[in-house]
Each structure stands twice: as structure tokens, then as C-alpha cells.
């Protein structure tokens, strides 16, 4: 795409700006295996998020989640005791959906389609099967162009982009290790994180077994059971509730030209993926830019997605993320841009990125276990390499 349009040229750009706020968050415990069903975990997270906000579940009138979410809206509504639900939406593309669910909730509230919106994700990915082992669902486009050649798993698909990235920019495994180690340190400070008690040294990283070269075990996210939810209301309503409002300053989704989900090899420039499209709209709708972001929660199913996203969202120029990752820049405290301060998908829990949203809210409330002093703005992103979404949160 040589001449992207200027999303800021829209006369309606920024209508969502600070119009809504996240007022409640909740998470179940995270574990390799939890006994309750996904439906029960989902309902518990939603009810707990309502309690955190100080709203009653009967007030919920909008429900937003992922297309991959197994628990349907009708099950949520008849379990938690919703009243009349007047907005419900699902967003596709796996881990690209997370911030989109909150963004759709915000748009529903801002446009008067609902007043108390809930976004959630519940997933027993720890105890359930790995999706790529289901061969009967793997061979539609683009699968028929990749799977027969042994490119079977998400890690293989992202490793292909990673090798090219390393070739073009001179990145090394040390840069990937910077990412894995930074988020592990944050997880070591977070008692809720799966990897809370498991420090990781650079030697641990370098000695880890390969999964898909150039990616090793510690470049991969966890496999976790758990659920999270958040509650979105109008800025006016938020001022009367229990928690300090965390404003949804801007929201965007991104699907660039000729993109193929997970295998973004078939477009003009595979190393500028969905994050770049999403970022143009996001910043156009915001009062501030990447230089003003105090802390970021960046989707990390795989370590290289953080490098790609740092460039896509404009924190650094193209090809500069590897050197930016040196010197503890991504680490709390004191890093130029601490990322994934709860441990992220790599070391806290992998709930399709929804735990990144909850951590963004905690940073804005001042309650993170790796709290960035005086943090007023937070970027939260969803999956790179798939049609994606992002939120700018502010106090």
C-alpha cells in the first residue's frame, strides 16, 4: 500500500474519545487446568467484573466477545441474569479480537445502543487440545497453500516472518531473549502469573529447545485455562461508580491490503502488517502520540510480535525495535517503555490477550504489581499478524 489515506481526515474522527470508560475488571485464577467449564469461568469473571465496578449483572445490556469464544451470549445472559440485551457482537481472527471486543462495547455505549457493556474471553487452552491438531479444520484458504508443506502451527507461521525480519534488520536471538526476559521479570512480580516463581536467565532462554527455528520454547506463549471480563459504561456513569474511571481514549481495528491471517506472506510488504493499519486510525483518533505513552501491553503470543508491534504502532522506526529492546528499555522500572507489566501471554497467562487489557486498566488505576510511576496513558494491542485491534487507555 504506497499511499495510505489519512484517517484523521474524517470529520467524525475522535467521536469516541474519552466518551466511555472501563469501570470493572475481573479474572479467574490462571492455571494449566481449572475444573469449571469455560461457560462457568466466563460467568464468574463477568459477575466479578460487575462487582468490581459496582453495577448489578441485571444491568448488562451489551455483550461483546471473540468469534472463537465457545460460550454464547444466550448462555451468559441466562446465567448471570442479564435483563434485556440490546447489543451483541463478535470479532474474528483469534487473538486479534481482544481490544476489538472492548472497542465495540465502547461504541455501543457511546452511540446509545446500550448502557452497561461487558466484554469477555474464557478459554481452557491449557487443558484443551491445541487447535492446529484438528486437521479437519485446517485446509481452507489459506491453509491449502501452507499446511501440505508442513507449516502446521501458529509458531511455524510466525517463525517464517521472524526469520525474514532477522534477515532484513539484523535482529538476533538476543533481541528475542530481551523480550522473553523482560516479561518474565514482570511475571515474577505478579502473584497471579503462571510463571510467578520461575525466573528466566539469558542462558535459560538460549538453552531452551527449538519449536520452530528461529523460535524456541520461550518465544511461545503459555497454554492456560482462565477467563477475564471488563465492564464499559459512559464517562458520565463512570464518575458515580466504585473504581476510578479508565477512559477509552481511542480504539481502532486494522486489516491491511491483501492480508492473510497468520500467514501475511502474500502482500507487498509482509513486515508491515495489521498493526500499521490499526495504528494509523488509532493515532488519528487520539489527542496524543506514541511518544506520550507511559506503558504498553502488547500482544505476545510469540516474542517477535512485540518487535513488529513496536514498529507498527510508531514507538520506533521500521527495523529499530531490536536495538530498542536492548538495555532494559522494555522493563519495569525505568525502561523507556515497560511492556506487558503483568507478564503478558508469555509469562502471566495466555487468554487470547484479554489479560493485557486487564493489566492496562490496573496501570491506569495505579494497582499493577509493576506499577509505572505516574502512568497516565497505556496502549493495549491485540494480535499482530492477524486482523487486529488496539485501545488507548488513559486515567
Amino acid at each position: 500500500m504506497s499511499n495510505p489515506k489519512d484517517p484523521g481526515a474524517s470529520s467524525r474522527a475522535g467521536l469516541l474519545r474519552d466518551a466511555t470508560a472501563i469501570v470493572g475488571i475481573a479474572a479467574t485464577p490462571f492455571a494449566k487446568h481449572l475444573e469449571p467449564t469455560e461457560a462457568e469461568l466466563a460467568c464468574q469473571a463477568i459477575v466479578d467484573a460487575c462487582a468490581d465496578a459496582g453495577v448489578h449483572p441485571s444491568e448488562i445490556d451489551a455483550l461483546c466477545s471473540y468469534t472463537m469464544e465457545e460460550t454464547e451470549e444466550i448462555e451468559i445472559a441466562r446465567n448471570v441474569g442479564c435483563g434485556e440485551v440490546t447489543f451483541f457482537s463478535r470479532i474474528g481472527y483469534g487473538g486479534g479480537a481482544g481490544c476489538g471486543t472492548v472497542g465495540h462495547a465502547a461504541m455501543a455505549v457511546a452511540t446509545g445502543q446500550a448502557e452497561v457493556a461487558v466484554a469477555w474471553r474464557s478459554r481452557k487452552r491449557g487443558s484443551g487440545p491445541r487447535p492446529w491438531t484438528n486437521t479437519s479444520s485446517q485446509l481452507r484458504v489459506p491453509g491449502q497453500w501452507t499446511r501440505p508443506f508442513g507449516l502446521l502451527r501458529p509458531v511455524d507461521e510466525i517463525a517464517m516472518l521472524t526469520r525474514r525480519y532477522m534477515h532484513e534488520y539484523g535482529a538476533t536471538r538476543d533481541h528475542l531473549a530481551n523480550i522473553a526476559i523482560a516479561v518474565r521479570k514482570h511475571a515474577n512480580r505478579n502473584p497471579a502469573a503462571i510463571m510467578h516463581d520461575r525466573p528466566m536467565s539469558r542462558e535459560d532462554y538460549m538453552d531452551a529447545r527449538w519449536v520452530s527455528e528461529p523460535l524456541c520454547l520461550f518465544d511461545n506463549c503459555l497454554e492456560t485455562d482462565g477467563a477475564l471480563a471488563c465492564v464499559v459504561v459512559s464517562a458520565e456513569r463512570a464518575r458515580d461508580l466504585r473504581q476510578p474511571p479508565v477512559y477509552i481514549h481511542a480504539f481502532a481495528q486494522g486489516l491491511p491490503p491483501e492480508h492473510q491471517t497468520m500467514v501475511n506472506y502474500f502482500c507487498d510488504d509482509p513486515l508491515t502488517g495489521p498493526a500499521w493499519a490499526c495504528a494509523r486510525r488509532l493515532w488519528a483518533n487520539a489527542d496524543f502520540g506514541p511518544q506520550d505513552v507511559d506503558v504498553a501491553q502488547i500482544y505476545d503470543a510469540f516474542t517477535p510480535l512485540i518487535l513488529l508491534s513496536l514498529e507498527g504502532y510508531g514507538f520506533v522506526e521500521r527495523g529499530e525495535a531490536p536495538s530498542f529492546s536492548d538495555g532494559g528499555n522494555l522493563e519495569w522500572p525505568g525502561g523507556a517503555l515497560p511492556v506487558n507489566t503483568s507478564g503478558g501471554g508469555l509469562s502471566e497467562a495466555y487468554i487470547h490477550g484479554f489479560n493485557l487489557i486487564a493489566e492496562g486498566v490496573r496501570q491506569m488505576r495505579g494497582t499493577s504489581t509493576s506499577q509505572v510511576d505516574g502512568a497516565e496513558t497505556c496502549l493495549v494491542t491485540s494480535g499482530e499478524g492477524v486482523p487486529t485491534s488496539a485501545l488507548l487507555l488513559r486515567r
Binding site: R130, T133, T135, S136, Q138, L139, R140, V141, P142, Q144, W145, T146, R147, P148, F149, G150, L151, L152, R153, D156, A159, M160, L161, R163, R164, H167, R209, W210, V211, S212, E213, P214, L215, P257, E258, Q260, V263, Y265, F266, C267, D268, P270
Partner: protein, 157 residues
């Protein structure tokens, strides 16, 4: 479900890809091209994203390519793949238009196994040429998949 008798995943031929797989069976690498503006595109699809024409045709290409990127897959994998792991998987760029990229496997000899090449010797940018490997589905369906040879004959010869 398309699996070979020994557990390899086979392409599910659909309306979009039919011409490609007819080509591989005939020993030719064919790209879909727009019948109106002539632009080649991959993967195949019903409409040209440049000129919105639904006219389309299949065009034989040289089968010459360069290595764009590669991975080396290690277990856990599906059983047939785990049995031969580690093996490299590549993306190649066609010489006709480097933005036309295909996922595939690289070989030293035309009928070699996909774990034949030592991954440590692979170099991004190295030249490759297409060959075709016959596969048979559990239901007896015959298909041929492209593979990429490090020193190749001319496509279709």
C-alpha cells in the same frame, strides 16, 4: 478430510485453486492472472483487487524463484511430520514478481524427502526451481505438490 495414506495433509482443491492444481498435475507451475488488467495474484481468488474484474485465467510461469524465508519445524507436530522432523519449510518468491510468494519445501534431488536439505546451508536469496511431487489421498485422489530444487530444470521440461 484430505490426508494421504501415510498421514500427510493434502490440499483441498476448491474452485479458486483448481487451475493451480491442474497445472501441478501436468507438471507446470501456473499463476492466476487477471483477464482484464493482466496482474498475477496468489493465492487465487475470484476478483482482481486492482481492477475488480472477475475475468481470470491461468498463466504458466518459469518456476524460477528465490528463497524468501524459512523455518525448521521441530515437534510437537502431527505424527507423519513428527516422524521426519526436524525439517525446513520455505517461502519462495517468484522471479516474475517477487511479491508472488509460495510456501513449500526445498530439496537437493527431485524426489527427495522434505527433510533432505541441511537447514544450516540454506541462504535467503538463493535460487530455486520448481519440481512436482506426486501424492495420493486416502480416497485414491492423485495430486501433485510443488517442491523447490536447489538446482533445477526448466519448469515443465
Amino acid at each position: 478430510m484430505a490426508l494421504s495414506a501415510d498421514g500427510w495433509m493434502l490440499p483441498v482443491v476448491d474452485e479458486d485453486g483448481e487451475g493451480f492444481w491442474e497445472g501441478t498435475l501436468a507438471g507446470e507451475l501456473r499463476m492466476q492472472a487477471c483477464g482484464s488488467c493482466g496482474a498475477m495474484r496468489f493465492p487465487p481468488r475470484p476478483m482482481c483487487p486492482r481492477c475488480q474484474s472477475t475475468e481470470r485465467l491461468w498463466q504458466r510461469v518459469s518456476g524460477q524463484a528465490t528463497l524468501w524465508s524459512f523455518v525448521v519445524a521441530h515437534p510437537p507436530l502431527l505424527p507423519a511430520y513428527a516422524a521426519i522432523a526436524p525439517y525446513p519449510v520455505v517461502v519462495v518468491s517468484l522471479v516474475e514478481d517477487p511479491r508472488l510468494r509460495l510456501v513449500g519445501n526445498v530439496l537437493d534431488t527431485p524426489d527427495g524427502p522434505i527433510n533432505q536439505v541441511d537447514p544450516a546451508t540454506l541462504r535467503i536469496g538463493e535460487p530455486l526451481g520448481v519440481v512436482f511431487a506426486p501424492m495420493v489421498g486416502q480416497d485414491g485422489t492423485e495430486i501433485a505438490v510443488p517442491r523447490w530444487l536447489r538446482s533445477s530444470p526448466v519448469n515443465g521440461s
